[in-house]
Amino acid sequence: MTFDQARWRRDDEPVYEPLLSDKDETTVGISGDSSETDDADSTVDVPLPDDLTRDELTLPELSEPELARHYTRLSQMTYAIDTGPYPLGSCTMKYNPKFTEDVAALADASIHPDRPERRKQGTLELQYRLQDYLARIGGMHAVSLQPPAGAAGEFTGILVAQAYHEANGDEHRSEVIVPESAHGTNFASAAMGGYEVVKLPGGEDGRVDLDALEGALSEETAALMLTNPNTLGLFERDIEEIAEMVHDVGGLLYYDGANLNALLGRARPGDMGFDIMHYNVHKTFATPHGGGGPGAGPVGVVEDLAEFLPTPRIRRSEMGYEEFEPDNSIGKVHGFSGNWPVLVKAYAYIARLGDEGLTDASAKAVLNANYLAERIEYEVPYGPFHHEFVASAGEQDAADVAKRMLDYGVHPPTTKWPEIVGEALMTEPTEIENRDTLDSLARAFNAVVDEADETLEAAPSRTAARLIDQTSAARNLRLSWQALEE
């Protein structure tokens, strides 16, 4: 397979597809009561006093055909799951079924949240059903759909834990324990909640070291945040003992749902002893990542914690469905009800797959990860794996390996993390890839494994842009086209 990504460029200037502002800009004068603008291309009278208005606005003014071409070209310079495999570890880049887009775009989905409950029964019913689906899938008692992203779900969970401890007169607890190999958001979310973050070193088998955990736990422990399988793709086999240890000191166990795609139908966080969890619907339930978002990060909790969830939640009532504020709610974590259209897509995906489809998705995801791990020539420590594995680039620089893989037409894995594996290549093919694609992915890895450092350092060359200078981007900050003109 060869790969040449579209690269629209001007031959007479050192740019690819020009910025809108390089094409055509127009200045519109804004005239309040009295003022005149000198150098405007046109002027609009706005019914406001002059001291409340700006003088002019300068922005690109292009025709619709020009814009259609601009954005179509830019899309062709963007790699996506629909253009090729995207085995980015921890990100679960799976195919996003197209029908979910149509379902979320239904006119009846497009309503304002401040409508009276009686007038939005359909929306409340879908929310209620999704709460219920997620509770079943996670083995949780109650779910809030409000957090707009996984990290927002973590922060919500931390606030819930805090509220629980306060309600128990236990507000002194000041520490949240996080394994060193955890997602960066875990540390940051705990810190945002005002907690001191205690980092737990990993054990030799890549799992939680129970002795280290014993040492870290104390009366100060508010919670332990874990993902299971962990970021090495390994199931924390001691999870029941871990749960007992955390609960014995009065702490709560938090489940980071980023890796839930490994377990659907096989195990549930609630059954493992977790008290709080978030779901990444843009990972596990196939809502598109959209270049970084929007996602959604619903939070599930066990029965004792339901009273602390954000407001409003949805329940059945005489009229059908109604919103209610949990008794000791932490309040709000989003201005309204979260990323509703994303939640509609997740609902549609779960309803389409059902029990068997969800279970099968995880089985295939795990099968694919283990198959690919077998097929690549890089060393893959630990194992057997669940949804992902972490290979080591050995003497090569993992970041350079990734750049070179781009030349072979595939998106590379997550690199240099978790640090427990040197020069890590964290790889998650997901369930969507067939054997041929996995083989071609393996060929991309294996083509790079023997290549010289000079070759890697010069990569990529078949992509829209060649290797991009990160240092100069940070040192000479230019964050807008205005800054480019300076």
Partner: protein
């Protein structure tokens, strides 16, 4: 494939202790694509068909077809965060253009590629103020007219700090400058104000508010939206240090509250700000290229010392907003703002003619929405209007709030007729 791995069946791949295994019975029946579509259509069909005069931070607007068609291109929709910029130039350039358009609208040089919504952007602003404050002070001053849910989100964002959120008063819909001056002292680290306010009032005292913040060494954060900013005084000019708000008035129709958190600030705070940033650089062929930059502020590198925990953001909504803004162009943006002012004025004039209705309550300039006082209880009016197919906010005992959104003249005429029926019988 199983043979290649050396196991007999898929179940052998799972390394799950017996005691916690699950039998796979969620009780969710699989359905065909068509059945799911029909299920959701039927369910959402139970939402009443209504003309919504609802706003207060979330708005419905006409979205040009270009936005839907181009944003739905698979390459944009199904890509992820641009950690490999060499194959993500297209999306990065759109985000760079988004940052640039908002830099022009705010006058502030630095715009991130999105927060979740206006409320979380306000929370992040307080945390920014906490990081950059030069004093031991801990007071965050917010206006009396503030959406309660937004304030509730702010309260959660500052829960892990020593910041305390306090309210200052309003005077006929705008900031009561004297009241704010009395409240502010050297312990203030952030002064927040909005234009337009949650009640639709265009703030008239921005330079004075900025002076008060400046005098005490506090940050001045302004809440607004990109259509309003197309005609209102440039925030940079009036002294704002941070501009936040919901930018989904571009790019999104009413979406049950999904938003696009705008976040702009001055260059001096760039290393302390939350969220992703796209910068210009060059590639090995010396052509201009774009990349995520200053990632050392972010959680995946800085962990608990990151400026925020945000990872997934609203990038695709930012892309939609950028396309929408480009489609409107400067004249379209200014005309949209002009419309939001004049159409709100016309509706206020029309309902003010009715006996028992006084509109607008505040003798100020309005944008998109306004508050009307009513002789009859507001709840009753809202309920009767709902029976006639119109949704309005019932605020207090005798106050309703009306937002024109992008409603056509027929809908607005129909609403005035319905309100006439309700208040005049």
């Amino acid at each position: 494939m199983l043979a290649a791995i050396g196991v007999d069946e898929e179940a052998d791949l799972f390394d799950i202790p017996e005691g916690i295994g699950f039998d796979g019975e969620f009780g969710i029946d699989a359905r065909s694509e068509r059945e799911v579509r029909e299920d959701v259509e039927t369910m959402l069909g139970r939402n009443d068909t209504m003309v919504e005069l609802l706003g207060r931070g979330h708005y419905d607007g006409y979205i040009p077809s270009l936005v839907d068609h181009l944003s739905q291109r698979s390459e944009f929709l199904t890509s992820y965060t641009q950690y490999q910029p060499e194959v993500s130039q297209g999306f990065l350039q759109v985000l760079f253009e988004y940052q640039s358009i908002f830099a022009e609208l705010t006058g502030l040089g630095i715009v991130n590629c999105s927060m979740y919504d206006a409320a979380t952007a306000l929370g992040e602003t307080a945390l920014l103020a906490d990081r950059v404050r030069s004093t031991a002070g801990n007071r965050v001053l917010v206006p009396e007219h503030l959406r309660a849910e937004k304030r509730a989100v702010l309260a959660n964002y500052v829960a892990g700090t020593d910041l305390s959120v306090e309210t200052y008063g309003m005077d006929d819909g705008c900031v009561d400058i004297d009241a704010l001056a009395d409240r502010a002292d050297d312990d203030a680290v952030l002064v927040y104000a909005e234009t337009p306010t949650v009640r639709g009032v265009i703030e008239e005292g921005l330079p004075a508010i900025a002076d008060i913040a400046d005098e005490h060494g506090a940050l001045f954060a302004l809440g607004s939206d990109p259509i309003a900013l197309s005609v209102l005084e440039e925030p940079e000019t009036v002294g704002a240090d941070v501009v936040i708000g919901d930018a989904s008035v571009l790019g999104l129709p009413a979406s049950y509250g999904m938003g696009l958190g705008m976040f702009a600030t001055r260059e001096e705070y760039v290393r302390q700000m939350p969220g992703r940033l796209v910068g210009a650089s060059s590639d090995a062929a010396d052509r201009r290229a774009y990349t995520l930059t200053l990632q050392t502020r972010e959680q995946h590198i800085r962990q608990e010392r990151a400026t925020s925990n945000i990872c997934s953001n609203q990038a695709w909504i930012a892309l939609r907003a950028a396309i929408h803004a480009a489609w409107l162009g400067p004249s379209g943006l200014v005309e949209a703002a002009k419309d939001a002012i004049s159409r709100a004025d016309r509706l206020a004039d029309a309902v003010d003619q009715l006996s028992g209705v006084d509109a607008p309550v505040h003798d100020r300039h309005h944008f998109r929405e306004f508050v009307a006082s009513t002789e009859q209880p507001a709840d009753e009016i809202a309920a009767q209007l709902a029976d006639l197919g119109y949704a309005v906010h019932a605020l207090a005992d005798h106050e309703i709030q009306l937002c024109v959104n992008d409603l056509g003249e027929d809908d607005l005429d129909g609403f005035v007729a319905a309100l006439t029926e309700v208040v005049e019988g």
